[in-house]
């Protein structure tokens, strides 16, 4: 991982509730168990990406009890069931732990599978009743990975989601996870999917950010930073990153919603790593001293790495 510069003040990560007032209010409603307020807010969001960000802020704050009390006749029942499914998955991962598969005990596997199967059955019912429930399809993509149902099934779930929510960034991000070698795929499959996105997503589409996520994942999976950086500095990769920037963050039709910081994080990281600090600069300026938890996926000391790369990009005088 990249060495941290000594004496640099680490920049703390910001959660969406720190960045958006309405999400802070949403979280407070969830803490109070005010389901009607939570459901009304979530129901008013326009895209699946905003919904996914907002849901993540309430899932751990709501209790099963609050969600189970929503009657089946209530229009928000499907959403409540979806969040119940997500919580069940999270409990399953809590039992398994996030370590290597080889360190998971038989009992942990059993508990993990039991929870994921139960969540899946809740979500099968949700998507059967309402195939447009994109957030349930998204969670089914994640379950598909957890219980190893295979790439073709993951792709089917992505396709079902995409019929009603084309080019959602979060769906592409999770498919790219599935397509990597660590989940039985290959970097060729990741590249094929990225090419497909570039061909099919309209300019300005937030879904194109999944392509750059794929490049960062490739970097993160390399044996060491030197190898990862070399892969990113391949001229074709550099060209593709610029091409994605042209049709997303640099494009007038780009509407990132709650993914604003995520989008600029990706380009700030990538342009810095390929050594193009000038290209990284506008993204650090856009971030205005904030960073999302994404950095901790790729850097040992994310706060310090961020500060260091930001200073390289902006220089002492241009600090934004």
């Amino acid at each position: 991982m990249l060495p941290a510069v000594p004496f640099q003040m680490p920049v703390p990560e910001s959660e969406p509730v720190d960045l958006y007032t309405e999400l802070r209010r949403l979280a407070a409603d969830a803490d109070r168990g005010n389901w009607p307020a939570v459901a009304a807010f979530l129901g008013g969001l326009r895209g699946l990406d905003d919904l996914a960000v907002a849901c993540r802020q309430v899932e751990e704050r709501l209790s099963d009890d609050v969600l189970q009390r929503v009657p089946a006749t209530d229009p928000t029942w499907l959403l409540a069931q979806t969040l119940l499914g997500v919580r069940t998955v999270q409990r399953g991962w809590g039992i398994r732990g996030t370590g290597w598969a080889r360190n998971v005990t038989r009992q942990q596997w059993a508990g993990f599978h039991e929870h994921l199967n139960r969540a899946e059955q809740i979500l099968i019912e949700v998507t059967a009743r309402e195939p447009r429930q994109g957030y349930a399809w998204l969670e089914r993509m994640i379950i598909c990975r957890g219980i190893s149902l295979g790439h073709d099934e993951a792709r089917r779930r992505y396709d079902r989601l995409s019929v009603h929510h084309p080019h959602a960034y979060i769906a592409g991000y999770h498919l790219i996870q599935q397509l990597q070698p660590k989940w039985g795929g290959s970097w060729e499959k990741v590249a094929e999917f990225s090419a497909e996105l570039l061909r099919s997503a309209p300019p300005g589409s937030i879904g194109l950010l999944a392509v750059v996520a794929g490049h960062m994942e490739r970097f993160g999976a390399a044996d060491n930073d030197a190898e990862g950086t070399a892969l990113l500095r391949d001229p074709k990769v550099v060209a593709q990153i610029h091409a994605v920037a042209d049709v997303t963050v640099r494009h007038p039709a780009f509407q990132p919603g709650y993914r604003y910081h995520t989008a600029h994080d990706w380009f700030a990281m990538l342009f810095s790593l390929i050594g193009d600090h000038a290209a990284a600069a506008p993204h650090f300026r856009a971030l205005a001293g904030r960073r999302t938890p994404l950095w901790s996926e790729y850097f040992d000391k994310p706060g310090t790495a961020y500060a260091n790369l930001r200073d390289r990009a902006l220089g002492a005088s241009g600090r934004g």
């Binding site: 019912e125 059967a128 219980i147 149902l149 790439h151 073709d152 099934e153 792709r155 089917r156 396709d159």
Partner: protein
């Protein structure tokens, strides 16, 4: 439009048809009546009965199903008289000199038997009654002239038959010389599935499903809607399947089986399982529309309005009459069809899905979708003497007063003598016992330090009529204990594969093994609507 009369004491159905006259004689006997040790005997009788009618210009045939056997022919009135009288006379006096030749013909035909849903009955019912359609016709080898003639005398009788004719009259001079007999009830179904919906891992190529419901006109509507939705979802929308089909088939006992199938490319098998499960879930939650119902109803109505609909229903009506179902006219049927509501279809779907059995391709599971793994092993072992495998594999053979078990680790396969369906007996002493539940135990005495009289004890403990002698195995095919453990007696259906003793494909007819296993391979032939002839026995 449907007239009933009688010919020589045989109930007779008449309905007009537009083409040449077709007539048939249907008997209430089929595979489900045979017992595991005699599988194939009805088919053999059917072949023998038709042998004398070996004239090429007639359009005649026979068909052995699960609970009925048909003989039918198309032609002039006098052709039909000749044919039916010949069938009856042959049944009374089978040309048993043809026995070995007809056995050879049946063995050749066996290669073409079976549809995509071939294995589901074994998993649902075991090696008995409605499950026997899953098994090879291994009973025929041992049958002698007396066996087939007494089978014919017992089942092919006047009281157990219905004559049906597409035409307005019985051909003049027709006589049906059949023994008196009695009308035989259909077997009582019993399931081997401790929990449903259930699943098992079968051959590749696609996903197959069936479920049971009370016989009701909504069942055929549900099957048509299911087929339409599988096709729309898996083929048109997702491009995962080429063929998708569903059918509704009365079982003969007041219940009906809804069967569905979708094929899959090798690289799409997991997605077809997922897509199939989601289609079923859509019906379970009642996501069905009046538009879909109206569309399939119109299609069904069109079929019922076809000029030959009356005549085409005759074999099914004969089966209905023989199994005590109410006969309905086409007008009544159409009336019922238009009375079917969305709620009726949903109720049919809930019955079928609740009792469902899903066959998934190798490498797939369905536990995640709420399907319980169908049992591949027994729940316990018999008490008795335990003999360890000589090859150090850790497997044990248990010989008890009540039966035999093979135990390895947590896996047990047990056949109790009182519920043993069939024993395959090799001259070298090997025995394969198959229980009524479909679980098999292969006893290779040479592989265990078992007493010398093991084979004799097994043979003494079961009824002699269920022991099927097998041809001698080549010396190389007879397993011998070796220092290195062999593999594979317990098959992998779901979960991890335990390692145990007892591999031997003797002569390659079927792979004997222990546990529940498909008794033969290569029968998965996906094709559009490729259900076996055993289906379609009934009218509705």
């Amino acid at each position: 439009m449907l007239h009933r009369t009688e010919v020589d004491g045989v109930p007779t159905l008449l309905a007009p048809g537009s083409g040449p006259m077709t007539a048939g004689l249907t008997f209430r006997v089929g595979l489900a009546d045979e017992g595991a040790a005699r599988i194939g005997i009805t088919h053999l009788v059917e072949h023998l009965a038709l042998h004398r009618h070996g004239v090429a210009d007639y359009h005649y045939n026979g068909a052995t199903g699960s609970v009925v056997t048909h003989f039918h022919m198309q032609g002039s009135e006098s052709d039909i008289v000749t044919y039916l009288e010949m069938v009856c006379d042959s049944l009374a006096n089978l040309p048993v000199q043809r026995l070995e030749t007809e056995k050879a013909i049946l063995r050749t035909e066996a290669a073409g038997r079976g549809g995509v849903n071939r294995m589901l009955p074994m998993w649902r019912y075991g090696a008995q009654h409605y499950g026997l359609v899953s098994y090879p016709e291994w009973g025929i080898d041992r049958l002698g002239p007396d066996d087939v003639q007494s089978w014919a005398n017992a089942w092919f009788t006047r009281a157990n038959a219905v004559l049906w004719i597409s035409g307005d009259r019985v051909p003049p001079g027709l006589r049906l010389r059949l023994p008196a007999g009695t009308l035989r009830p259909v077997p009582v179904a019993s399931t081997m599935l401790p929990a449903t919906p259930a699943y098992f891992t079968g051959a590749g190529g696609g996903v197959v499903f069936d479920g049971i419901m009370r016989r009701h006109p909504a069942g055929s509507v549900f099957a048509l809607m299911l087929e339409r939705e599988l096709f729309r979802s898996l083929r048109q929308e997702s491009g995962l399947s080429y063929a998708a089909s569903a059918s509704y088939d009365p079982r003969g006992d007041g219940f009906a089986v809804v069967t569905a199938f979708a094929d899959a490319l090798p690289e799409k098998q997991g997605a077809v399982v997922g897509g199939f499960v989601d289609v079923l879930a859509g019906f379970r939650v009642g996501r069905i529309t009046q538009t879909d119902l109206d569309a399939v109803r119109a299609k069904r109505d069109e079929a019922l309005r076809h000029p030959d609909a009356h005549a085409g229903r005759l074999p099914g009506l004969a089966a209905d009459l023989l199994t005590g179902a109410r006969l309905r006219t086409l007008d009544q049927l159409r009336g019922q069809l238009y009375a079917v509501t969305l709620a009726d279809v949903h109720d049919a779907a809930l019955q079928v899905l609740g009792s469902g059995l899903l066959q998934v391709p190798p490498g797939s599971r369905a536990d995640w979708a709420g399907f319980a793994a169908a049992p591949t092993t027994s729940t316990d072992a018999v008490p008795g003497h335990t003999y360890r495998a000589l090859d150090g594999s850790g497997a044990s053979l248990v010989l008890g007063a009540d039966g035999v078990s093979i135990v390895e680790g947590e896996c047990r396969a047990t056949v109790r003598y009182r519920s043993c369906a069939v024993v395959h007996a090799w001259p070298d002493g090997a025995r394969q016992l198959i229980g009524l539940d479909g679980i098999a135990v292969l006893v290779e005495p040479a592989l265990f330090a078992a007493p010398a009289d093991t084979t004799a004890r097994i043979d003494r403990s079961v009824h002699p009529s269920i022991i099927l002698p097998m041809p001698a195995r080549r010396p190389d095919d007879i397993p011998r204990p070796s220092p290195a453990p062999t593999t594979g007696a317990f098959p992998s259906s779901t979960g991890p594969v335990p390692r145990t003793v007892g591999v031997l494909p003797p002569g390659g007819e079927f792979p004997p093994a222990t546990g529940r296993f498909p008794p033969f391979t290569g029968l998965f032939r996906p094709a559009a609507g490729a259900f076996p002839p055993a289906a379609r026995e009934f009218g509705a």
